[in-house]
């Protein structure tokens, strides 16, 4: 193995990878519409038109699947393709007549065409058991199971507005804010593997990592280790990454929670964070049926009741949380209340009520 120094080239130039039609009309687009779900039609100032066909992928792609996408790109789309941040693949073509064959080819290879406009796009998600060092579940599996159930909402545009879902396999929430987020929620403090702490962990780093100062150095069985004040610990798992013997993941007690009402865009309302609505769902591979059932309940209530253009959080802003819990049939508990001084802003300091 002959090691050589890297060429520190950074982010590559875009030009060689950009479809010629996009290059030609770079920064000079005029308007767009969506002729059908999964298809975008952009018109440039020059009068040029480009049709984009979007399809879902499994994100974790084997080389054969990547090559299948390349074959489609070579045959139907001038040898170019791009990906969206939610792992959808997009092919661009210069005439409307190229759209149908492309859709057919994608369909034959099992790539669902959709994810545009008022649909559920692919779930943005994280690594999980396949690759992360701290996951309590397998985000890829949860996502595959959920997308199977929500497939019809991917290939149609029939929701009030777009609905974005994310999934994360620890409380760090790499999957991100979303209209609906499916995240791990630990319910018990880490169990400490005292035999390993002294050798594996830099104890001051671990002590400093805890947001609520629940960890302190301790001698256990004559060995330097750590101890946790279990009344303080709120089970965030932050200590686990710097110190794997702080075993936060637990097959039974690492549960799944569902959050709603996160929004990225600035359209109409300001961006917002998602809020907890369901917790304590079992981490139940391989298909996590309890999670799918709860998500579908929320999607259906939104679909039935929201007005055009309302994102899920905006719908709840209008109908109120009392109505949300009523319409979804979900229980409201003390755990929904942000129970500390800084949470006061989330309490209702008014006589605005809904019955």
């Amino acid at each position: 193995m002959s090691a050589r120094r890297a060429v520190e080239s950074g982010v590559p130039e875009l030009d060689p990878y950009l479809h010629p039609l996009l290059k030609k009309n770079y920064g000079a687009w005029k308007w767009h519409d969506r002729p059908r779900p999964g298809v975008l039609h952009h018109v440039a100032m020059s009068g040029d038109e480009v049709w984009t066909v979007r399809a879902g992928t499994q994100r974790q792609l084997d080389v054969h699947t990547v090559r299948a996408l390349c074959d489609i790109g070579d045959r139907y789309a001038d040898g170019y393709l791009r990906f969206t941040s939610r792992s959808n693949v997009e092919f661009m073509v210069a005439s409307e007549s190229q759209v149908a064959p492309l859709i057919e080819a994608l369909g034959k290879k099992g790539f669902p065409v959709g994810g545009t406009g008022n649909s559920i796009s692919m779930i943005s998600h994280t690594q999980g058991w396949l690759h992360c060092d701290i996951p309590a579940t397998d985000a890829s599996g949860v996502v595959k199971a959920l997308m199977d159930e929500l497939h019809e909402e991917f290939i149609h545009e029939r929701l009030p507005n777009k609905l974005r879902i994310s999934s994360s396999c620890c409380e760090i929430n790499c999957g991100g804010q979303a209209d609906i987020a499916v995240n791990i929620q630990h319910t018990k403090p880490p169990k400490i593997n005292h035999d390993l702490v002294g050798n594996v962990c830099e104890r001051p780093t671990v002590v400093a990592r805890c947001p609520v100062a629940a960890i302190r150095p301790a001698l256990v069985n004559g060995k330097p280790s750590l101890e946790i004040d279990e009344r303080k610990c709120m089970c965030c798992g932050a200590c686990y990454a710097p110190c794997p013997p702080m075993l936060i993941n637990d097959p039974e007690n690492s549960k799944i929670a569902i959050w709603v009402g996160g929004k990225h865009s600035n359209a109409r309302s300001k961006p917002s964070f998602h809020k907890l609505v369901v917790s304590n769902l079992p981490n139940n591979p391989p298909r996590w049926p309890e999670v799918s059932a709860a998500v579908k309940k929320i999607v259906h209530a939104y679909k039935d009741d929201a007005h055009d253009w309302e994102r899920l959080g905006e719908w709840i802003d209008r109908i109120g949380w009392a109505r949300f819990f009523e319409l979804t049939g979900l229980p409201f508990t003390k755990f929904h209340i942000d129970n500390w001084r800084g949470g006061r802003g989330s309490l209702n300091a008014s006589a605005h009520l809904r019955f």
Partner: protein
């Protein structure tokens, strides 16, 4: 190899092969069955370990230290904790490689990447990680260097990991979106490539992320995900094509327009006139994009375009999610100098972060700790009322420097520094 390894039994994973959505399990199995390829045994054991995770509901990877010559980051080391049962996938590292801005590819370059990854890796590629990297997942320690060299020879470079500048993302923007208010791929490449040292030799208190969105629709989720969100913006009046407005009203009907455009404006800045033209109160429009999103033919951002910068967004660890908040209301983004200004502000903020943040503290947490006003003073950016939802609601602060602060504000308005023209023009 004469002695082919058997496929592991994976009854749980097998259940993820049915259904209409493409299955990653089917892909993993395909790789495991590629008997002629060097990665087949690795992928068999990987499937075995993953099935073991599904059975026991636990993960079995731990970190470590693996890298390439000259770089301090970019490889995510993964060593199996159950290697005695699944030896072929004992090492399963990931290489983070930065794609072109906007994630555009030729089939040719993707095919080459597949060839390299067949030779040195597992054949498994995630397009893309939440970080915006191509994630080449599954590499033995000894193959990390040659795999990287091959990608590097193709013109691709390592992304960020650890306490470093991270790989960036930009929206499709200029390449195919009429809302785009600046050249996102250019800004993305210019900024990141200026600070590659911070990316490849991690020495910051913690990660630092830029994200580039061409308009307030913020397709890259920059405000919530990036330390520094660069959001396209315009200052002058939005462009209205009244002919197209009338056509839209004729096609959809007045009540549709009233219910879905006029009354959905957050600042009541829109009015439908009796002659079916649209009146816009541009001084009160907050550039939310809604009406422009609905009426893509009739409405467009204005001509005086640039960016708004927000700072401090991050994910949950450890104090809960934070959104970025405005630090520069408007920075024009037209000339070469404008792009250099952006680089300069990026540098000042990153230097301040490097000097003042505690270990493992993100920019948002640092600002919470030291105070937003102090931070702004530290990096030397002028204050603007656009930076608050409202002024303070309690009197507990030393105000003996009030007069000097008033003077500084007046001065900053007078000099009218490029990034201080924000607000309603």
């Amino acid at each position: 190899m004469t002695d082919t390894k058997k496929m592991p039994k994976t009854p749980m994973l097998d259940q993820l092969e049915s259904g209409p959505w493409p299955s990653f399990v089917t892909g993993l199995k395909r790789l495991a069955k590629d008997e002629s390829k060097p990665y087949a045994p690795m992928m068999k054991d990987l499937l075995g370990q993953l099935e073991h995770s599904y059975e026991t509901r636990k993960g079995y990877w731990k970190g470590g230290t693996v890298g390439v010559v000259g770089y301090g980051g970019g490889v995510i080391p993964r060593f199996s904790e159950v290697a005695e049962k699944f030896p072929a996938s004992a090492e399963f590292h990931t290489l983070r490689i930065m794609p072109a801005a906007g994630m555009h590819y030729t089939t040719e370059v993707l095919r080459k990447m597949c060839d390299v990854w067949e030779e040195y890796g597992s054949g498994l590629i995630a397009l893309h990680g939440q970080s915006g990297d191509i994630m080449f997942q599954g590499c033995s320690t000894k193959n990390v260097q040659p795999a990287f060299d091959a990608f590097n020879d193709m013109g691709f470079d390592m992304g960020g990991a650890g306490p470093a500048l991270r790989t960036s993302m930009s929206c499709v923007g200029h390449a195919r979106c009429e809302h785009s208010c600046y050249d996102e791929p250019r800004a993305h490449r210019r900024v990141i490539n200026e600070f590659l040292d911070e990316m490849h030799r991690p020495a910051m208190p913690y990660k630092f992320k830029f994200k580039f969105s061409g308009c307030p629709n913020d397709c890259t989720n920059a405000i919530q995900r990036a330390d520094m969100a660069v959001i396209g913006m315009w200052r002058d009046d939005m462009k209205v094509d009244q002919k197209e407005v009338k056509a839209f009203v004729a096609e959809r009907g007045r009540s549709y327009v009233i219910d879905n455009v006029i009354t959905r404006c957050p600042t009541h800045s829109l009015r439908l006139a009796d002659d079916d033209t649209l009146k816009v109160d541009n001084r009160n429009c907050v550039r939310c994009m809604h009406c422009i999103n609905v009426m893509t033919k009739a409405l467009h951002p204005g001509d005086d375009r640039g960016v708004t910068l927000l700072l401090g967004g991050k994910r949950t660890l450890k104090i809960g999610d934070l959104m970025g908040t405005v630090i520069v209301p408007f920075l024009p983004m037209k000339t070469d100098d404008d792009y250099e200004q952006l680089v300069d502000i990026g540098r000042r903020v990153m230097e301040f972060f490097a000097d003042n943040a505690l270990e493992h503290e993100r920019t948002g947490e640092m600002i919470d700790r030291i105070g937003f006003a102090n931070f702004m003073e530290g990096v030397g950016l002028p204050l603007d009322p656009n930076m608050v939802t409202h002024p303070r609601t309690n009197p507990y602060v030393r105000m003996d420097e009030w007069d000097a602060a008033v003077e500084a504000y007046r001065e900053s308005r007078k000099t009218n520094g490029a990034h201080n023209k924000g607000g309603q023009s």
